[in-house]
């Protein structure tokens, strides 16, 4: 009997394992394929801004090898300062894609670098969901793990950063983040030094990939501290933490962009402080072991006082060091995390980036959808029972909620935590409901032979299967599926043997709900899940798939495609000299270097505020002053993005106030109020003369009145203030089809300098001008 039991158990185990493996595989495929909408709807193309830089770096890496990449001094950007790419870039993503490309080529699979780059993010999101499975499994078992993996595979927040073509650091970093947490929890659960070492390596990969690694190196110490305070100190905790700090810090310091920051900046200090504390605690426990209780009390006071002194001393040193630096040792981005108003107060360049703004409530619903409602249930579930692992999960969700509230970009960190919590909540719920149904089902009303944990695992397995298969076939006939499931369940229950342990039964009884209620609840949960799936697929297909270099708009006469950016970059590439310098606002720097292969003055790596302020000042100055600034930087062409003709809202006129602010932050003669009429930003006839005469206005609206005869701006929904003007120091050389990108060339310095006598024949000359204007105004827009 017992032998049969164990055999049956083994078979069922094997069956469950195979099934969960299969489900995981499907989740991976699903995570990959849901991110391909952008390729299908548009084309296999790199998206947005930063990915273009990463793409260019990857090209360089594949062409020149790792060492040249490491030592790459790029003279085509930040002219004339240049940028040491190898020392200022997080190399993880680039190295990953480069390695994939290299392996593929080694096996004679000739994929282009671009293709590899495009598909890196979807591949890694599959890895990320598997990592989420592993992490949640450590926290709450296989069922929760599978649910969490399925949820993560399609969480919109993560999709927004990892669609095919979104070749950015976050694409691999989220995987690295979850995997590092998994290894930490695994070490915590097993106390194995092997996993601790792996953990340090995973942390190293994370440091290579993303600046967000500071989240790890602060969250884990927080958790350790929490464990110590709640009296959960164990040797496992020590093994999970101490090697990570030592090895992790050493490894992190190997990454050129981090270097000595790993020990010098205050983002890392928490880990060292906790490192000291854990040693003090370890010492205390050791002494407690060898001393009698009475002696121990004496020792405790001694150790605590000594420890306190050491801590105070270290703290004092830290504070002294930190206080001596102007930013208090914190980098601007991190400071804006702790004090949300910091950036907008002091660093306009950080505040100017839309993804550094605090999120709005709708963006929570958009990005994590129903998970927002499941998270609290998951947190509660983590407290029954509270383990080291589940306390870590709780801490993770709490901190990430805070950070996501500061910066919309960090919603990305919240998403995995929300998925894990929701996975736990869903699986616990299905567990309870499924068991209720099972135990009250007329035929199978017998108790488990296996221990409670095991049975719950199996049943969660089933529910998870439901859940995950449901996600696969979102809108198919659910009732049929479900009834099938139930039959399966019934069969399994029948198979279950009858021997029981009474205590377990009593425990279980407490959690059993009425049969009908359970059934309704399951149906409701499935409905909730299906809403989530529908929303996620919609988000992946519609909201987050636009590459933003190609735009589309739907109107009554069909689909319009705006490919102006690539048109402009192609023009630059084919019609300008290789060494010509192109000035534009920093948003377009990466794209210009990558797509047009021309030297730029500033780009999206905003490391030099003064340089950006110089460009901002030039854009906000009148023509002559702007010409002087650009000429001193050897600029040949100026590129502006203008959306007024087609109604493209994120154009340079809308970003212009940031140029003024950033420029004015360094060059005080640029004052924001000069550009505002009664505190309002406007470009119509009420606009201030400073605004109407600044370079950005002129370059954007030059000849604009010729399009419709009255100069109606479709973004600002107003007629422009100054319609007829000439450019004296710049000449228009190219304007794209929809006027979205306009390129101007700096005129050369005047060959002669005119005398001071005024033109006497003013009558005739103005007559000529009027004539010209007349003909111009009647000219129709060539691009209606």
């Amino acid at each position: 009997m017992a032998l049969e039991d164990t055999q049956e158990k083994a078979v069922r185990h094997a069956f469950g394992n195979v099934l969960s493996l299969f489900v995981l595989l499907l989740i991976g495929v699903f995570a990959f394929s849901i991110r391909l909408f952008s390729v299908i709807k548009y084309e296999s193309v790199i998206h947005e801004f930063d990915p273009y830089f990463n793409y260019r770096v990857t090209q360089y890496l594949t062409k020149n090898g790792v060492y040249d990449f490491w030592n790459w001094f790029d003279d085509r950007t930040w002219y004339p300062l240049g940028r040491v790419i190898g020392g200022t870039v997080y190399p993880g993503l680039t190295l990953t894609a480069g390695t994939i490309w290299w392996i593929l080529n080694f096996f004679n699979i000739p994929l282009s670098v671009e293709t590899v780059c495009v598909f890196t993010a979807p591949i890694f999101s599959a890895f990320a969901s598997w990592a989420a499975y592993l992490l949640t499994k450590e926290v709450k078992g296989v069922g929760a793990g599978l649910t969490a993996a399925a949820l993560l595979a399609m969480v919109p927040s993560y999709i927004s950063r990892s669609v095919a073509g979104s070749y950015d650091n976050e694409a691999v970093a989220i995987f690295a983040l979850i995997f590092t947490f998994y290894l930490y929890v695994k070490t915590l659960n097993t106390g194995s030094l092997f996993y601790a070492t792996l953990n340090a390596l995973a942390y190293f990969y994370m440091v290579c990939s993303w600046g967000g690694y500071t989240f790890i190196i602060n969250l884990i110490p927080m958790h350790v501290l929490l464990c110590i305070i709640t009296g959960r100190y164990s040797s496992r905790l020590y093994i999970a933490y101490a090697p990570l700090v030592v090895l992790g810090t050493l490894l992190a310091a190997l990454v050129p962009v981090v270097g000595f920051n790993a020990v010098m900046t205050s983002e890392h200090f928490a880990s060292f402080l906790v490192f000291i504390i854990i040693h003090v605690v370890a010492l205390a426990y050791y002494i407690k072991g060898i001393l009698t209780p009475k002696m121990f009390k004496v020792a405790v006071t001694l150790v605590v006082s000594v420890g306190m002194i050491v801590c105070v001393a270290v703290l004092a040193i830290l504070i002294a060091v930190v206080a001596s630096s102007p930013t208090k040792g914190w980098s601007g981005r991190s400071l804006s995390l702790l004090d949300p108003t910091y950036a907008s107060k002091y660093i306009p360049i950080i505040a100017s980036v839309s993804e550094h703004q605090p999120p709005t409530w709708p963006s929570y619903f958009m990005d994590i959808n129903v998970l927002a409602f499941l998270v609290p249930a998951g947190i509660i579930a983590c407290f029954f029972p509270l383990s080291d692992a589940s306390s870590f999960a709780v801490l993770y969700i709490v901190t990430s909620v805070y950070f996501s509230g500061v910066m919309v970009r960090l919603m990305l960190v919240l998403a995995p935590a929300a998925c894990i919590m929701s996975g736990i909540a869903l699986s616990e719920a299905f567990d309870v409901f499924g068991r209720s149904i099972k135990l009250q089902f007329p035929i199978g009303n017998q108790t488990d032979d296996v221990n409670a944990g095991n049975s719950s695992q199996v049943s969660t397995n089933n529910s998870v299967k439901q859940e995950s298969e449901k996600t696969e076939n979102t809108l198919k006939e659910r009732p049929v599926k479900k009834s099938k499931k139930k039959e399966k369940e019934k069969e399994k229950e029948k198979e279950k043997s009858e021997s029981t342990s009474i205590t377990k039964q009593i425990e279980k009884k407490l959690l059993i709900l009425p049969f009908e209620a359970s059934l309704v609840a399951i149906v409701l949960l499935v409905l909730l899940g299906s809403f989530y799936v529908v929303h996620s697929v919609w988000a992946a297909a519609e909201a987050y798939s636009a590459p933003s270099i190609v735009l589309t708009s739907r109107s009554h006469d069909g689909l319009h495609v705006f490919d102006d950016f690539r048109e402009a970059y192609a023009w630059l590439r084919h019609n300008t000299d290789v060494d010509d310098k192109v000035a534009s606002w920093w948003d377009y720097g990466y794209q210009t270097t990558a797509m047009a292969n021309r030297t730029v003055i500033v780009d999206n790596n905003t490391w030099n505020n003064t340089h950006i302020a110089t460009v901002g000042t030039a854009m906000s100055s009148p023509e002559k002053a702007a010409w002087d600034i650009f000429n001193s930087l050897d600029v040949k062409y100026v590129l502006v993005v203008f959306g007024g003709l087609v109604g493209y809202p994120s154009d340079d006129i809308n970003k212009f106030l940031w140029m003024v602010r950033i420029g004015g932050g360094v060059f005080p003669h640029i004052k924001e109020p000069d550009y505002l009429r009664d505190g309002q930003y406007r470009i119509d006839s009420q606009a201030t003369p400073t605004m109407l005469n600044c370079l950005m206005y002129k370059l954007s609206y030059y000849r604009f009145v010729e399009t419709d005869g009255r100069g109606f701006d479709r973004v600002r929904h107003t007629e422009i203030g100054k319609k007829y003007f000439k450019l004296t120091h710049f000449e228009e050389v190219f304007t794209t089809h929809h006027w979205m990108v306009r390129i101007y060339k700096l005129k050369p310095a005047k060959n002669r300098i005119r005398g001071q006598t005024k033109k006497s024949k003013s009558k005739t000359s103005t007559g000529k001008n009027n004539q010209k204007r007349g003909t111009r105004a009647t000219k129709k827009n060539p691009y209606p």
Binding site: W70, N71, P80, T599, I753
Partner: protein, 437 residues
């Protein structure tokens, strides 16, 4: 190929020989000169000046200013290398020429001699203003000087001026000192002091003023003193040269031959300084002097020959450039001690005077500063009377590679020692911990 005077007259302007000998980088001196006159009488009354040009090999093409067939260019190429406008009263040029086309002619690198006079037309004034010279706006105004006028029998209103306030520049006026004063009778002009391209060559004395000599002076004149310029030259940014004079008659045979005695001075010169002054000045305007060219810009690391695509910080670099001056017939080495090299990134990081081998080669060696970025080797040479040399060559400077730093620093030996001691100590500790009971 040098054309003689008679050949130049015979061969038509468009003939291949003339085209081939035109203005070029190799021989920058002008050859074909368009002379626009108010009437052909000027051709004979100013023949000495024209002859001096023709004997120097210039091919003068005399046209009336209102000739309806006038054209500066045909099929997009200019027919002339330079123009002389001796037509101060012309209100409108004939043919396709107007003020704008004259200025375009200058802007495409050609030279111009412009003579105004009393009763100058708006057209001439307009061209002068565009070049940076403001003539007295009073149409009847002449330069009057009651202290340094030329002594003569009939003249009573002191508008015939004997000026000797020349610019001190050997390049513009030749190395031979002009002894006799220059006779001048015409209108004065001013130049904007902020305008670096215009240079006063002949200034009026501090007692001069510009007014109508026949009218009673009611208001104080607008142009007074030595701010009045009588003759100015302009060197445009493209090195085109322009001579602007307020007097047409100073080019005339009468003035060139006249004897001169400055008021208040006892010396009487047999011949005025006009001929020497104008000849030397026309040499300069027509690029027979003061035209520099720079070539063979080279830079490389010390001890190497190849020009690299990038330098490293703290490299030792050699830079050389050859500079020649056009003497009218050939390129001669230019010798000076003030040619400076800049190693430039937004501002010069290195500024060093180059040494010369007296044969035209300038060279220097510099150490690349400890700053990386995209630098330029710059030579900006702007010297009075010489054509501008503006060379810039872009070169990136990279930081050290990861393996170019010093491997073992003596100051760090204690740390090396500490780490090895630590390793050894740990090994010993492990042994003793494991194997001693």
């Amino acid at each position: 190929m040098v054309l003689t005077f008679s050949q130049g007259f015979l061969i038509s302007i468009l003939s291949l020989a003339v085209l081939a000998s035109g203005f070029s980088e190799d021989s920058p001196t002008d050859r074909r000169v368009l002379v626009l006159l108010d009437d052909f009488a000027i051709k004979s009354s100013h023949s000495l000046f024209f002859k001096s040009l023709e004997t120097r090999g210039f091919d003068l093409d005399f046209k009336l200013a209102d000739d309806p067939k006038l054209a500066l260019q045909r099929y997009g190429t200019y027919l002339y290398d330079a123009a002389i406008l001796f037509s101060p009263t012309t209100e409108r040029f004939g043919g396709s020429i107007d003020a704008a086309s004259i200025l375009n002619f200058v802007d495409s690198g050609h030279d111009l001699i412009l003579a105004a006079d009393a009763s100058s037309s708006e057209l001439i004034r307009e061209i002068a203003v565009e070049c940076g010279v403001d003539f007295d706006e009073d149409p009847a105004g002449l330069v009057v000087d009651h202290t340094s006028y030329a002594v003569s029998e009939e003249d009573g209103d002191h508008t015939l001026i004997a000026s000797d306030d020349f610019i001190k520049s050997d390049v513009i006026l030749g190395s031979k000192k002009i002894e006799a004063p220059v006779l001048f009778k015409g209108i004065g002009h001013t130049v904007n002091t902020a305008n670096s391209l215009v240079v006063k060559v002949l200034s009026a004395s501090s007692a001069a003023y510009s007014a109508d000599p026949n009218a009673v002076l009611s208001n104080s004149p607008t142009l007074i003193g030595s701010s009045i310029s009588l003759v100015s030259v302009v060197q445009a940014r493209n090195n085109a040269r322009i001579l602007i004079s307020g007097s047409l008659s100073m080019f005339s045979n009468r003035f060139l031959r006249s004897s001169i005695q400055k008021a208040g001075s006892t010396t009487k010169y047999e011949k005025s300084g006009n001929e020497q002054f104008l000849t030397e000045l026309s040499r300069w305007v027509f690029h027979e002097r003061g035209h520099l060219k720079a070539l063979n810009v080279k830079h490389h690391k010390v001890g190497e020959v190849e020009e690299p695509s990038m330098y490293r910080i703290k490299d030792d670099v050699e830079y050389s450039v050859e500079v020649y001056e056009w003497s009218g017939t050939s390129w001669e080495p230019y010798v000076a001690d003030d040619l400076q090299l800049q190693f430039y990134m937004m501002s010069p990081y290195v500024l060093k005077t180059m040494s010369t081998d007296q044969k035209g080669l300038y060279h220097t060696s510099i150490k690349v500063p400890d700053v990386y970025g995209v630098f330029q080797f710059k030579v900006e040479y702007q010297k009075l009377g010489y054509s501008t040399i503006s060379l810039s060559k872009q070169i990136p400077v990279r930081p050290f590679r990861h393996n170019e730093y010093e491997r073992f620093i003596p100051a760090a030996f204690p740390y090396y020692g500490a780490s090895f001691a630590m390793m050894g100590g740990f090994f010993v500790f492990t042994l003793s911990y494991l194997y001693t009971k």
